[in-house]
Subunit: 274 residues, 2 copies
């Protein structure tokens, strides 16, 4: 039955695993299929047309594999390609921008909200537009931080270099009067400590993973799509019924980074061509 | 006639422009068609299969456009995909590894040669293998420097951050007894000053651009493929007969970085899908 199908998640690479982790914790009965488009990462420096094409290809791949709901875990793809993805597949689609924006608005008292993201996400003004809808009186300051993704991928999150880069990018945000800062790229939670240091303890950091998990939980409930069988029971019954991870390239590198993220390497990991 | 056709050059992005510049200076009568695969950059973190596929697609695109010779300006593609590219097209193909290795051997007195390159190039051992053929007694030390490409693309070549990153990557090369260091990625010449500082003035840096231009000049001569008409005359006769630049994505960003590299933005720049 449809409700027993897995939930599809895609990201440009490993960053979306931070969203996967939040979903997995919030919805322990659900199964997941994750696709990391590691052959074409990064998305954040690419154009609207290209990001749309890649996102639609990823969404179709996951829809073909039998998923009941699709989470676009990549901020850049959510900012640029959500309408195109919704046209391309018939299952419900959840992006990461709106849940993150909603959480930021809920947590900001001063109504001054900072957003850090990739060049493409910032250029799209997706966060500013969404926040303006939710809270017309809110003031939004956006900054792109292109070196954060390669620093996270290189495993240099807590180095002097990362701290210097963060200070360079975030110096003016520190004294801009914002009280919350949205980590508007799924890679950035890996640099959380370094970012917090650079902006100071007075600014709350917002990760969208948790908010996305909450939205997905509600949607499943509303549409009677929640899995009926407990995950533990199912795993006892069917040994191979585990979460499935696909990458478009370099599975080994993905497994290494995923292990750092999740505490363990993915059991079922497969390289595919899209 | 065949000899009047342009020379094709491709790279994963803007880095190959350092090779284009050297070719343009050495062969002022030739015309060039440059393809930067900006939609799929970087290649250096990708697998053999994927780099081969991308390189063959790029080579076919340039061959279809009527070129008499093909320069693979990307070190990663040269290291991993030269045999596949040669099978895919019928024109002569020149890579950047062998000319660079030859120059390094010629300039090293101590027969201790350092090579810095992308992860994929280092993993391929292409430089070590080529140098071993040319000088069996030479000792080669290779290091990958993944953050150099994003630093160059971000325009941070001469910053404190770049200097710290260079020191971190190159500290042990400094005292390893090498007397030459090959810049085994076409992006690295942009960080030349920072790299020289990190390893000290005693080590000669080797860029392959010049060596590649020399090899191409010889090949054109041997095969009677040199252009007959002087470039200046041709440009006077045909206004549109200029070097042509193609990118697979984000032409604006390419133009901006190209201007920094070449001193002027490309006149004819077109985005294509491959």
């Amino acid at each position: 039955m449809e409700r027993d199908l897995p939930i599809g998640i895609f990201d440009s690479g490993v960053g979306g695993l931070t969203v996967y982790r939040a979903l997995h914790e919030r919805l322990p009965n659900e199964r997941f299929v994750y696709l990391g488009d590691t052959a074409r990462v990064p998305y954040g420096t690419k154009s609207l047309t290209t990001v749309e094409r890649y996102a639609v290809e990823n969404a179709r791949f996951l829809a073909r594999h039998g998923t009941k709901l699709l989470v676009v875990a990549c901020n850049t793809a959510s900012a640029l390609a959500l309408p195109a993805v919704r046209r391309a597949v018939s299952i419900p689609v959840v992006g990461v921008i709106e849940p993150g924006a909603r959480l930021a608005v809920a947590r900001s008292r001063r109504r001054r909200i900072g957003v850090i993201a990739t060049e493409a996400t910032v250029r799209s003004r997706a966060y500013a537009t969404t926040i303006a809808h939710l809270a017309p009186d809110a003031h939004v300051i956006e900054r792109s931080c292109p070196l954060f993704v390669p620093l996270a991928e290189e495993g240099w999150a807590d180095t002097t270099v990362a701290r210097l880069v963060a200070e360079e990018y975030l110096e003016d945000l520190r004294d801009s009067g914002i009280d919350v800062l949205v980590l508007g790229c799924t890679h950035y939670p890996i640099l959380r400590r370094t970012i917090q240091q650079a902006v100071g303890e007075g600014i709350k950091l917002i990760e969208s993973g948790e908010a996305v998990a909450e939205e997905v939980a509600q949607l499943l409930e509303e549409r009677s799509l929640s899995a009926r069988v407990k995950r533990d029971e199912r795993e006892r019954r069917l040994g191979d019924d585990l979460d499935h991870f696909y990458v478009t390239d370099a599975a080994e590198r993905f497994a290494r980074v995923a292990e750092r993220f999740l505490g363990q390497a993915p059991t079922v990991l497969e390289a595919v061509e899209i």
